[in-house]
Structure formats: structure tokens, C-alpha cells
């Protein structure tokens, strides 16, 4: 089984040729960014006016330095529908002789699902991948590509909408939205699902090999501290992701605002991470799904979906019971969702809407999760308890199951102001070397 968010295979192993292509490409192509900014200035809705958008309301402008609000649980945002970026009309027929172009993480969609969609709707489906959001957005921004569908998380949704890179959704085409968990049918970061629909959900916690680690991590007073345990020097790994690594250090210190822009908080987290370098010789990658089963790491910061996939990477000599995953049982950890959006660069907006609906279909969503991706869809018909009782998820990994209440009690990584983002990035770069 392949792995869902296999960013590693791209980002961490970029060939020199690819590196040069990307560098040169961005250097030349991004010259259009200036034009883009100029275009933003000329757009029909140059600045976001909360509550008085053409069809939008809610959300208050933040002092973030951004021309749009930062969505927060206590500051839900209804994005406006811009005059020059309207919805497609209802009742249109799908495009004919079309190739639907999907721009996704590596191995984050079951190819058979894509193939079946193509067969059912009489089109070709082409999947391209991006290694990280920065590259993904840069590519879309160049407008040299005509991708139809993209998979952003809430931390980049605002800029995609404000930059009019994504098309507002005509929900007439997406009746399956009703299959999703109620709070994700109209999430606070996109009230009314005007631009996005949920694709997968996950938590971020601590995974470990219980046959190698003697401590009972869940019973520790602060299980995050297990990652600073010098006894396991060389066998501890963090996710190579600036939000996740700093976020975990924040949670360890009891700071639950995972979008804090307080320099003192970030400094505290950074110093804790720097301490890990000497203390446990921490390593950074996003191969949690192979590290733990193969024993390369014994304690690993991990995504819940990756731990579901991890069972397929176990050597034959290691039983699945050796895998453990901890996420705060009462909630209150890092929780996230990836979403589906329709890109303005695409040539097939009707097919794209239909694809979104197709992926929100109960059977398709489950098949995609169970057969390939490993990341749970927020489908209301999927009973988290039955996932374990019916053997979809091993009993010892029942903590990987994401429940609706996790989204009520958990903390999501959201969009930061440019200053805040620079603060987080700067701290991470100092830590990672």
C-alpha cells in the first residue's frame, strides 16, 4: 500500500535537475507575482470588507496586515463572492472530451477512484503532484497550468480565495456535502462551504513502538515530554513541518493557541526544539508511517492517518500490536483537515464540481480511505467505533480514529499574518539548521 501524504519522496529527494527546474522556474515565472499584486489592486473587491461582501458576511478584519480576515473559531469567516469570480450556473452539462486535472499531494487519492470517475463521466483524469504548499501555490499562480482541483488545508485557504485562484462552489452540484460531519459542512474557516469541501481529517500526536519503549506514554503527566527523553537518543523523530514541530513544542508547554504570534511563545518553543538536538539527537522527516514500523524511530511525532497506514509497512517479524499512537483522549491536541477546491485555472469547472461531489459520496470516500489513502474522511455514516470493531483499524490503534468532538476540542493550524508566519518560519529554520 502506498502512503497518503508522501511529501518526503518529493521534497526531501528532489533531483538536482528538478531543483534547477524549480529554481529557474520560480525565478522567471514568479516575475508575474508583481503583476498579480498589481492586479489585486485593480480587482473589483480590492480590500476585504467584512460583513458587506457582495454575498458574504461575518468575520472581522484582523490587524494582520493582510487584506482579508484570519479565520478563527471565534471569528468565523464567510468569504465574499467576487463580481469577477462568480459561481458557475446550475444545471450545466459536464465538459466533453475533457481531461480533468487534479493537483494533489503524492499518493493522496486512490487511482482507481480517479479512473472510475473518468469512466462514469466520460473524461480523462490526470493527477499531478506538488511537494509542498509553497510550490503548489507558486505553480498555480503562474497560470501556466490548467489544473482543475487542489487540496489546501485551512492555513492557506484565505489567500487562495482573496487571490481568486479558487472558484466559488455552486453547491447545487455537490449534494453529497450533506454526508459530512455537521461542523465541516459549514466550517468556521469557510462558513457555508462557499469555496471548499472537506476531504480528509487527521490528528497529530505521538506514535511509538511499545516493544521498544518501556514507558506507558499515555499515562505520563505530559506525554509530549516523551519526545525529550534522552534514554531514546537517536530514536526520536519530529515531523519536518514548521507548523507541526513548533506546534508540538507549544502544546508541550501548555500553550494551546497553535496560531500564536507572540514572539515569547515561539521563542520558548524554539528553545525547546533546540534542546532536542543535543538531548535526543532529533531527526526531521515526514516518514512517520515507515519510521515506526521499521524501527528507524521508536518515538515519532505522527499524523493519525499515517499511523493507520503504518501497519502495512511492518516487517513480518513485528506484530501490529507493537504500534501505539497517543492523542489527548479528552481532545485538545492538534487536529486538521484537507479540503477540495476548484481552481480558476482549470478548463472544466463543471466536471470539477462533479468530482468534488463524487469524492464526498459515502462509498467512494470510504473506498479511498480504506484502500489507499489511510486518512479518514469526515463522513457521518462512518461510525468511528465500527472502524475498530470491524477491523478497519487495529484495536491498539483506536486512538487514530478522529471523532467529530475532536474538532470541537482540538486546535487547528490556521492562516498566520505575514509577520507571524515569518516568526514561525524563522524559528524553525534556526532549529532545523
Amino acid at each position: 500500500m502506498a502512503h497518503p501524504r508522501e511529501r518526503w519522496s518529493y521534497r526531501r529527494s528532489l533531483s538536482r535537475r528538478e531543483f534547477l527546474r524549480r529554481s529557474a522556474g520560480s525565478a522567471f515565472a514568479l516575475s508575474s507575482a508583481g503583476a498579480f499584486l498589481a492586479a489585486c489592486g485593480k480587482a473589483s473587491n480590492p480590500t476585504f470588507v467584512p460583513s458587506v461582501g457582495p454575498t458574504g458576511s461575518g468575520g472581522s478584519a484582523s490587524p494582520s496586515g493582510l487584506p482579508f480576515p484570519l479565520a478563527r473559531k471565534d471569528n468565523p469567516v464567510t468569504w465574499p463572492i467576487y463580481d469577477d469570480n462568480p459561481l458557475i450556473q446550475s444545471g450545466l452539462q459536464p465538459e466533453t472530451n475533457a481531461t480533468l486535472k487534479i493537483y494533489n499531494w503524492e499518493d493522496y487519492l486512490w487511482p482507481r477512484i480517479a479512473k472510475n470517475f473518468g469512466k462514469e463521466f466520460g473524461c480523462e483524469v490526470e493527477i499531478s503532484t506538488f511537494p509542498d504548499y509553497q510550490t503548489g501555490i507558486s505553480t498555480i499562480q503562474t497560470a501556466q497550468v490548467d489544473y482543475d482541483i487542489y487540496f489546501p488545508d485551512p492555513s492557506i485557504l484565505g489567500k487562495l480565495i482573496f487571490g481568486k485562484l479558487v472558484k466559488p462552489l455552486n453547491l447545487d452540484y455537490i449534494p453529497n456535502l450533506k454526508n459530512q460531519w455537521l461542523q465541516l459542512q459549514s466550517p468556521f474557516y469557510d462558513v457555508g462551504s462557499q469555496y471548499s469541501v472537506p476531504y480528509t481529517i487527521y490528528t497529530t500526536g505521538v506514535a511509538w513502538r511499545n516493544d521498544k519503549v518501556s514507558e506507558d506514554i499515555p499515562s505520563m503527566s505530559n506525554p509530549y515530554e516523551s519526545m525529550w527523553d534522552a534514554k531514546y537518543k537517536g530514536k526520536i523523530r519530529l515531523l519536518d513541518d514548521y507548523r507541526e514541530s513548533i506546534g508540538m513544542a507549544l502544546l508541550k508547554n501548555g500553550i494551546t493557541d497553535l496560531n500564536t504570534e507572540n514572539p515569547a511563545d515561539i521563542e520558548l518553543a524554539k528553545n525547546d526544539l533546540l534542546e532536542m538536538v543535543d538531548l535526543v539527537n532529533v531527526k526531521l522527516d515526514v516518514s512517520d508511517y515507515t519510521n515506526i514500523p521499521e524501527g528507524t524511530s521508536w518515538i515519532n511525532q505522527a499524523w493519525s492517518g499515517d499511523m493507520i497506514s503504518a501497519q502495512y509497512y511492518l516487517p513480518t517479524s513485528v506484530p501490529v500490536e507493537a504500534l501505539s499512537y497517543w492523542y489527548p483522549p479528552q481532545g485538545g491536541g492538534a487536529v486538521g483537515s484537507d479540503n477540495l477546491v476548484v481552481l480558476n485555472t482549470g478548463k472544466n469547472p463543471v466536471l470539477a464540481h462533479m468530482f468534488l461531489n463524487y469524492m464526498l459520496d459515502q462509498k467512494n470516500a470510504f473506498d479511498n480511505f480504506y484502500n489507499f489513502v489511510g486518512y479518514q474522511p469526515p463522513q457521518s455514516n462512518i461510525d468511528p467505533d465500527r472502524l475498530v470493531s470491524e477491523g478497519v483499524i487495529p484495536k491498539n490503534l483506536d486512538t487514530t480514529v478522529v471523532r467529530p468532538e475532536d474538532f470541537d476540542k482540538g486546535y487547528t493550524y490556521l492562516e498566520l499574518s505575514p509577520t507571524g508566519d515569518a516568526l514561525w518560519n524563522s524559528a524553525f529554520l534556526e532549529f532545523s539548521g
Binding site: 533531483s15 524549480r22 525565478a27 514568479l30 498579480f36 493582510l66 511537494p131 509553497q134 539527537n281
Partner: protein
Amino acid sequence: MSRRKREADSKVGGVWYPRWFWPAFATPSTLWLLFLFVVPFYAILSVAFGRIDPIFGNPVPVWNPFHWDSTAFRFVLNQTFLRGGIYQPAFMRTLIYVGSALAICLVVGYPVAYFISRHGGRWKTFLLVALIAPFWISYLMRMLAWVNLLQDDGLVNKSLHMLHLIGAPKHWLEGEGITVVLGLVYGYIPYMILPLYGALDRIDRSLLEAARDLGASPRRTFFRVTLPLSKQAILAGSVIVTLPMFGDYYTQDLLSASPKTTMVGNVVDHAISSPFVTRAAGLVTVMMVLLIVPMFYYLYSTARASREAA
């Protein structure tokens, strides 16, 4: 035709050629250099001295040098050259790793090239192919193979243990600088061996025989004849090997991934996927300027050798 113009033109084999004739042959390589080096380098400078799109965090190159903003570049310079700068450890590590890897490449590569050129006989071609064959496999796959070999219970530890060279498994993959250095050596050593082989194979045997006839011992013959005659190849191999090593980041990623072994290439790689692309471009520029010094030495040395040969 004026006398001056006539003098500027040249006569070869009784035929007069206009003075632009011979330099014209450099046009393709000049264009190549212009489009594949000068223009990309200017693009990097335009990014290093450019701006960052405040919304998307992407670089906005500034092509007009009069509008360049040196903030990011000054940050890179300060953090590289001032005491306690955050980039200093990566620069120092890179220097040490590349220097060590180069030394090992030479120590291992020279005898191999020497052996093939002198004693390869009819097996020369086979030996060369055997040497290069593993490198038909992608660099990534070869490094991943090493990940398996170097694991705690991998073949390397098992072999060392069997030979009683180690008591307990050595944790090669847990952020060890030596592993990164050996990875670099393995990845780049053929590029050292091939130019060395070429030079050693071309050495006129009569020079060696003359040295022996004049009473030089084999050791003295090597140090007074063979080694000086292969100096240019050593320099060429060193340049070919070290330039990509200085920019390498995936060897560290695959064989270590620890912040303790981060090289400059990794810092650049991390910065590229952050809102600090201007700093990444600044780091690349600093590295290029630093590497120009040994490059000029190489060019100077090659030119001098050509003059001496003439």
C-alpha cells in the same frame, strides 16, 4: 584593405581569414554560457535583492539593479560572517564535510585510477565499466540502498561485528557526520576517478622509463614524474567533485536528516519552501562567490600548465 586591417587578419595555409573568423567558433559556447549561467545567475541575484509577495510568500524578483533591496542579503552576510551567525555552523560543517570527502575521494580514487591505467591491461574497459555501472542507478536509489545497509541491524554492522571490529551496533543513521561524508564520497567518487584515469593513461611511458634509467626509485619516479603530470587531473577532479558537493542536500537528508549535520544546501532547501526565498538566493550567491576563489585558482593553474606545455 588597409595595412592595419590586414595585420589584424590572419593567414593560415596561405588563406587569409578575417579576424572575426576564429573567435566566431566560440559563439555557441558563449551563448550557452550566457543562457545557462549568466541569465540564471542574474535571476538569482534578482531574487536575492528582490521582494517577497506579502500574501503568498513567494519571491518577486526585481530585475532593475537600481531598485534592489539589500535587506535579505545583508541578513545573510551578517549571519554568515559575523560572530554567532545562525548560518555559520552549516557553512563550517559543509566546508569540513566537503573537504573530508574530497580527501577520501583522492586517497581512494587515485590508486584505483592508477591501477586501471597501469595494470588494467586488456581488462581496462571492463574495469571502467564495472566502476561506472552502479552509477547507472539513480543517486536516490543508491542512497536508499545505503540506508538499508547502514541500519542498526544492517549488513555493515553485521559485517563489522562478525570481524570483531565493533562490539555493539554503530548507529550510522542517527545524525553522524561521518555517514554524510561517506555518502558524499560514494556519490561522487567516479567523477574523481575518471579524469584521473584519463590523465594517468595519457602519461608518456618513456618519461617514466627515462626517470628509472636515470636512477630514480619507483617511489621517486611517482613523486617526481607521475604525480606532477597528473596534477591538472587532480585539480579537475577536485573541482568536478566539490562543486556539486557544496550544493548537495539530499545526501544529508537521506543518511542523517539531523539538524546536527545540516549543510548549506539543506539551509537553502528549507528556506526555499518558506517565505525566506530571498535569503535562500542570498545564501546561494554567497556560496558562489566563495567558490569562485578555488575556481579561479583552477583556471589560473590550467592556463599556466598550458603555457608551460607550449
